[in-house]
């Protein structure tokens, strides 16, 4: 029931490049319109930043320029992997953990493995968002949960 969520994807590049795009160019590709707190205002976020050091922040720059902290960097090894706590919505009492590793595989490709552990703490978010519908991530998840429930 509480096993980590593990996702893998292979991309046609070196681990160094994949890591660089993932961590340093995250604002270029993160789905800013639906997977960020700014969706509460019906707007896309301006950016997502991973500060490149242990203890750095992972945060969203919201549509109005405000900062929404998503988590803190726990490990950061360029070309190999990074991990961070993950508590969008300020659920800091029960942070989940995300790690992303990059490894060379056959044919010059890189296998990216994303592991999200402790996610069951999000059961609390799922509940709270029903009463707290208009704030950032609560809205993002509320909207998606609600539309899924109606489907």
């Amino acid at each position: 029931m509480t096993d980590p969520i593990v996702k893998t994807i292979d991309v046609p590049c070196s681990p160094a490049h994949a890591f660089n795009v993932f961590a340093n160019r995250i604002a270029d590709w993160w789905p800013l319109d639906g997977h960020a707190a700014s969706a509460a205002a019906g707007k896309a976020a301006l950016g997502v930043t991973v500060e490149p050091r242990v203890g750095g922040r992972v945060f969203e720059t919201m549509h109005d320029g405000a900062i929404d902290l998503w988590g803190e960097v726990l490990t950061y090894v360029p070309g190999e992997g990074l991990s961070f706590t993950w508590h969008p919505g300020n659920n800091k009492a029960h942070p989940t953990h995300v790690s992303v590793s990059f490894a060379a595989v056959a044919n010059g490709a890189c296998r990216v493995t994303l592991t999200h552990s402790g996610w069951e703490a999000w059961a609390d978010r799922a509940a709270d968002m029903r009463e707290n519908y208009n704030k950032g991530w609560d809205f993002v998840f509320g909207q998606r949960f609600a539309s899924a429930a109606e489907a």
């Binding site: 795009v21 799922a126 899924a148």
Partner: protein
């Protein structure tokens, strides 16, 4: 579809006492009486919360002699898991699309 989370699961988890009941059950199957001893709520209240949790599919019940024993139903949280799984699928797909659009420069 994969990304569904039913209203009943959300409603069941919306109550902090019900979350306490569920947490207590995660330690192992329990009877209403044992749960009521451990939680700051009356036995009838525990019974009511267990009914909501059972209706939502988060908890199962079976008879053991004259007692009814409640236990966590692992599939109950599977919907939340499936939704989060879809969230990360979206994120990694967007990442892969970026790599495809902007290939690595030859060294």
């Amino acid at each position: 579809m994969a990304n569904t989370l039913s209203d009943s699961v959300l409603a069941a988890l919306a109550d902090p006492t019900r979350r306490q009941v569920l947490e207590a059950l995660r330690e192992g199957p329990r009877s209403v009486g044992v749960l009521a001893e451990r939680l700051p709520v009356s036995r009838p209240a525990v019974s009511q919360h267990l009914k909501v949790l059972t209706d939502a599919g988060l908890v199962t019940v079976h008879a053991q002699g004259t007692r009814r024993i409640y236990a966590v139903r692992p599939e109950g949280l599977a919907e939340l898991r499936a939704w989060l799984d879809g969230f990360w699928t979206d994120v990694l797909a967007a990442f892969a699309a970026e790599i495809a659009l902007n290939p690595e420069e030859p060294q």
